[in-house]
Structures are given as C-alpha cells and as structure tokens.
C-alpha cells in the first residue's frame, strides 16, 4: 500500500534523507530502528508532509503524496502520532477527540466509542485538559487523535519516549490492539523490546537510507545486524 522510492529530504542546506526506499503492505506493522540522527523522524515528517522532500516519490495506494501539504496527506489517509505527543495542553480530552473525529467521521471503522473501547483511560479523563494528563495518557490521546481520522496508515514516532517501563508495556498492548484491527503502522522506536513486541518486520536506517530489512524473528535471531547497525549487543 505504501511505496517510497528514492526519497530525499532535509532542512535548509542539510540533506538528511539520501534516497529512502520503503515498501509496506496493508495491515503490516513495521518497526523502524536506527541510531540517533540517521533520519527516522525526518522520514516520518516527510511522509506526513511536515518536511518537504527534494526528490523521490511517496505513493499511498497509487496516489502520489510527495510534496503535498500535510492536510492533503492527512485527508489521503495518513495519520501521525508525533514524538513527544504534542497534544494541545489547554484543550480537554473530549475536545481533542471531537476535533479528530470531525475530520474522520464516516470514513472508516473508528469512532469515539470504539477508540474509547481500545483506550478506556481516555473515557475516564474526557473532561480534563490534556496538559493535566500523565505522559502515558497523553500518548494514548495522541494515538486516539490519529485513529479517529480513520487513517489507512499510522506513523508513530517513538511512542515509548519518556515513559516508564510499565506504561511502555501498555502502549505496546494498544499497538497490538490496533494491529488486530488491521491498522497499517510504521513505528519508529529506540526501545527494542517494544519494537520487537509489535513489529512484523524490522527496518534499520543508517545515514539517511534504509539499509536493512528483515522479519522481526529473523532480526532477533541474528544479533550481528543489531550489533553492527544499532551498536547494541
């Protein structure tokens, strides 16, 4: 469903992505790994349209999205769960859900009731301002916001960032729940434990390219790749 070819992108004079090729099948969960600064977040932001690519193509079910505005890309079915959650601190949980649902209503299976079924904590906190939520709750709110647009592809940038291990586990369960519902996902992660738990396949980036890809089980078995590309044993 997603087909990225020769994608180049970056900021002002520095090119970060140096020709990314990436394919993703519908319903697949891809764990995107790599050291700091290899371009994972730039790739996610370029796919979302927040960073404009200088070359290459991005196709989502045949439609070319490279260089489009983020709102156009969002309406084409891509949703982002950004690094650091980026919820609106003064808005309530209910307002967040309403804002997202208004854009996604009737375009797919996700509505407020179903999202709250997946993330019951949000139902209990719906009258609270997002700024009053814990980090884990904010992460769940960011996930809910993405799901309510009824996306075909969800991009998650370091969902475990800054969360306690127990909370990371519950985020892992939520991602597993999304996978069961058939959501296609790209999950950027530093936390290998979480990436291994949720991903069907692992892709590794280095110096602005995707340099390795294999099924998760295979990747875990062959620790030499992780050692060489991620610097972990």
């Amino acid at each position: 469903m997603l087909e990225v070819r020769g994608l180049e992108s970056g900021y002002k004079r520095s090119t970060v992505l140096q020709g990314v090729d990436l394919d993703l099948a519908a319903g697949q969960v891809l764990g995107l790994l790599g050291r700091n600064g290899v371009g994972k977040t730039t790739l996610i932001n370029t796919l979302m349209g927040l960073v404009t690519p200088s070359a290459g193509s991005v196709r989502l079910e045949g439609a070319d999205l490279a260089g489009r505005r983020p709102d156009v890309i969002a309406r084409a079915g891509v949703a982002l769960v950004p690094q650091g959650r980026r919820v609106w601190a003064p808005l309530t949980v209910a307002e967040h859900l309403a804002l997202a649902a208004r854009r996604g209503r009737g375009r797919g299976p996700w509505d407020t009731a179903r999202v709250i079924e997946l993330l019951p904590r949000l139902g209990e906190r719906d009258r609270h301002q997002a700024g009053q939520l814990s980090g884990g709750e904010q992460q769940m709110l960011a996930i809910a916001r993405a799901l309510l647009t009824n996306p075909r592809l969800v991009l998650m940038d370091e969902p475990s960032d800054g969360l306690a291990p127990a909370v990371v586990d519950s985020i892992g369960e939520v991602i597993a729940g999304m996978k069961q519902e058939g959501v296609t996902l790209v999950v950027v992660e530093q936390d290998l434990h979480l990436a291994f738990a949720v991903a069907d396949e692992i892709a590794v980036m280095d110096k602005g390219r995707v340099v390795h890809r294999s099924p998760t089980l295979e990747f875990r078995r062959d620790s030499s790749i992780a050692h060489a590309l991620l610097g972990v044993a």
């Binding site: 709102d71 969002a74 609106w88 003064p90 209910a94 859900l97 804002l99 301002q129 700024g131 009053q132």
Partner: protein
C-alpha cells in the same frame, strides 16, 4: 436570558456525551451556582445602574460596554486564534459609519442600524481578511495595520459620504417602537442589551467545536494540518466573525455618541483595543472586558483631569501590568484556589 455555561440536560454530568463535554468540574447544579449566579448578579447590577447613577456615569458605562464588546471580538482573533491584529478598528469604524449613515438616510429604528453595522463589518472583513490571513506573525501585523490606515484614509477622503475630517454628525437617536431614546439611561439599556447578546454570541463561538479548532490552530498549526484541517479556512472565518462583532460594537458606538470620526477607524483606536486585550488577558474573553474598562476609564474619565496626559497614564498602567500581571487581569484568577488552568509545555 440564560448565561449558564452548559446546555446538557444531564443533571449529574456522568455519562455525558464525551464529544461535547465541557471543562472538568463538579455537577451542573454546582457549576450553575459558581458561574451562573455571579453572572446573574452582575447583570442585575449593570441593568439597575441607571436607576442610581448620574447620566455621565451611565454614559461612561455605555462606553465601557461598547469597548468591551469590541475588545472581546479582537480577543477571538488575538487570544483564541493567535492572530494579533493592529487594524481591528477598521471594522469598528466601518460599523460605526454604517450605523450612522443608515440612521441618517434611512431609519434609526433599533436594531436595524446595529445589525447592518455588524453585517457590513463582516463584509469588510471578508474583503480584507482573504489577504491578511494568508500571512502570519509580523506580516499579519503589518497587513492589518495597512488595512486600518486604508479605512482611516477612506473615511477622511470620502467627505461627501463620511463628512471627512469633520466627522459624520447629526446621527439621530435610536428609536424603539417609534420613540427616540434620548435619556442616557435608556441608551445605556439599549447598549447593555445588545452588548450582552454580543458577548453571548462570541462566547458561544469560542466554546464551540469551531472555537476548539481555532485554539488548536493557535497552539500547533502543523498538528491541525496533520489531522486534515486546512487552517486558512478557519482563520478566515474567525477573522470575518471578529469583524462582524467589531462592526456591531461600532454600530453601538454610533448610537451612543452620535458622531463618528475617521480616528475611530484609525491606528490609535486599534492600538488601544489591542492594549485592552493584552491588559485583560488574551484568550479568556472576560479578561479583555476588564481591560477595556481600564482603558476607557483612564482615557476618558481620568485622562481629561490630567491636562491631556491620559495616554501617558495608560502607558504607565500598561508597563506596570506587563511586569506585575504577565497574563493580564485574567491571570489573577489563576491565583484563586479551585480554578485550574494549565500552561503550555506539551503543546
């Protein structure tokens, strides 16, 4: 009139529709008590003011209400949408001239002049906002400043219509049921009724899903885009709504003072009203009401007693307020226990 902040029929607040639930808080009855009753008391006090106050006081209160409505309309732009405008008086002025001309040449029967003032104010915003809203930051400031000066210049040069620099005078009194309102107290009641309806309208806009969208755009525009929103449309609509309510305030102003000068559409008026918003606390809606009261009192009431040093006093008040109350008068409410308001950090 109901100014109770919840239209839900759910008495307990439990099980309310999660998509429309208001801010966290106790049950509806308790919210009614904590917010509705003080508002009602205030409204009764305001409505009874002419019964014991001198005409001059009623006149000052009318001015405060008009500038408060004007300030709250600007707060929709500055505080809710994040678009600080330096030309908002353009729409106030357009509204004032419209109401004046309608009253002179056609009818001064309430509420025709103020409604037309609001409509023409909104139309002026439709015409000018298209360009202004496409820019942001300092460019938005400069474009709105230019729009304000343009309207100011037009008011001065189209003297056959506007009376030029002499102003548009000879505006007849507002009529209700054929009777002209000449006593300051009656005019005040008229201003109060229209202004309260205006406040209610702006408050409903700000707390609607549209208002939440505007706050989302203000705090993180790329994030709203990522949800599929096209921010331009929403900002443009906010600009038009703000222009309409500024026009309404302008229409009331024409009814009150019965003379309109080009300076009412000019930079000084725009700057004063922006000052009122910042002084009161942008984004709170009620803060700018207090800000407008201070600006009007300092400029019109104490100013003349200071040998024309009103603006100086206003400047001093502003500088002190910036240091002492960085979030305006509304920031004081944060010091009151029980009123929680989180600040940025995760947006």
């Amino acid at each position: 009139m109901s100014v109770v902040p919840d239209s839900s029929t759910d008495a307990s607040g439990v099980g309310a529709d999660p998509r429309t639930g208001p801010a966290p808080g106790p049950s509806r009855a308790a919210r009614l008590a904590t917010r509705g009753i003080p508002l009602l008391v205030l409204l009764v006090l305001l409505a009874s003011a002419p019964l014991f106050a001198a005409p001059f006081t009623a006149n000052t209160l009318s001015r405060i209400l008009i500038f408060a409505l004007f300030a709250v309309s600007l707060d929709l732009l500055v505080g809710i949408t994040g678009l600080p405008s330096l030309g908002h008086a353009a729409y106030f002025g357009v509204g004032a001239y419209t109401a004046g001309l309608v009253s002179i040449h056609w009818t001064s029967a309430a509420p025709v002049p103020v409604l037309l003032a609001a409509a023409v104010g909104a139309l002026a915003a439709v015409a000018t906002g298209w360009l202004a809203v496409r820019s942001g930051g300092v460019y938005f400031l400069m474009l709105t400043l230019a729009i304000g000066e343009l309207v100011h210049q037009l008011a001065q040069s189209l003297s056959s219509v506007t009376g030029g620099s002499n102003g548009l005078f000879g505006i007849p009194s507002v009529r209700i049921g054929g009777e002209p309102l000449t006593l300051a107290g009656y005019v005040y009641w008229y201003v109060l009724a229209v202004a309260v309806l205006g406040f209610l309208g702006l408050w409903l806009v700000a707390r609607s899903p549209f208002g939440a969208t505007l706050r989302g755009i203000r705090d993180n525009e790329p994030r709203m885009r990522s949800l599929g929103y096209s921010p331009f449309r929403y900002k443009y609509l906010a600009f038009v709504v703000a222009g309409g309510f500024a026009g309404l305030a302008g229409g009331l102003f024409a009814a009150l003072v019965r003379i309109v000068n080009p300076s009412d559409a000019g930079f000084t008026t725009s700057a004063l009203i922006l000052l009122a918003v910042v002084l009161g606390g942008a984004g709170t809606l009620w803060g700018p009401v207090l800000g407008a009261a201070v600006v009007v009192l300092v400029r019109d009431t104490f100013g003349p007693q200071l040998d024309g040093h009103g603006p100086l006093l206003l400047g001093v008040v502003f500088v002190v307020a910036v240091y002492v109350l960085p979030r305006g008068f509304a920031g004081l409410a944060g010091l009151v226990p029980g009123r929680r308001r989180s600040t940025g950090g995760t947006a």
